[in-house]
């Protein structure tokens, strides 16, 4: 019981970390080897598809 509660608490914590809070602008440079191929100004978000579609609505 204690293990499942701990697991639930961890899942909830990670859900909040990945799917809540303000999204602030970030930047990324996509490189292969030492060559910068693309520079992107974007909101860098690690989230699941549900979260992304909710944000677009």
């Amino acid at each position: 019981m204690a293990d499942s509660e701990e697991e639930l608490s961890l899942l909830e914590t990670l859900d909040h970390l990945l799917d809540r809070g303000v999204v602030i602008a970030g930047e990324a440079t996509i490189s292969i080897g030492d060559v910068d191929l693309l520079y992107l100004g974007l909101n860098i978000v690690l989230a699941n598809i549900d979260a992304l579609t909710r944000n677009r609505r």
Binding site: I24, G26, I44
Partner: protein, 198 residues
Amino acid sequence: MKNVVVGIHLERDDISAGQAFPIADVWLSALELHDDQPLGDRDLLLRVAKMRAELLEHATFIAVRYGCVVPPLPPVQPHWRATLQKNRDNVEMTLKVAASAPKPRPRREDFTSGAAYLRALHESSAEVDEAFKRAAEKAIDAIEVRWLPRDNASLEMAALVRRDCVDAVRAAATKLKEQFPRIPFLLSGPWPLEAFAE
């Protein structure tokens, strides 16, 4: 080195762990990491989650969704400082409730346009027993509540509560469970400002 941002804070002294970056009239907290460390690393996620909890114990802050890396510093939103000042003694609690009748999730391949698919996704949002919603709002003595659709199987009540009311909110949730034994729900928190950060 790079830094993954954790939150936005009112004062420098509020940042009791990690790095602190001044940004206009507020402060960013962040965890420093090597340039080649991937953000998807499990241990890193756990370290950031732990740091979030430590920071919240010290003072309320605005949560930044995981994934933002500095430098460069992001643009500042003019309302951040006022939001932090207003909620200095408040935290968020979350009540995640299972839908009374989960609706099937639409399949992307059944729609020719993205807009139609998004509409269908929206319409498939979960609904919760109205009596439970009213009882939950009444039981949890919040400054403000917001019901947020999570997916087709659950809905979430974000409650802004005073820090010194967290135990009372937990007790209220226990009573709510006795009152509505057939409605599965999960109370979690305290959390930093997430739903009430905007």
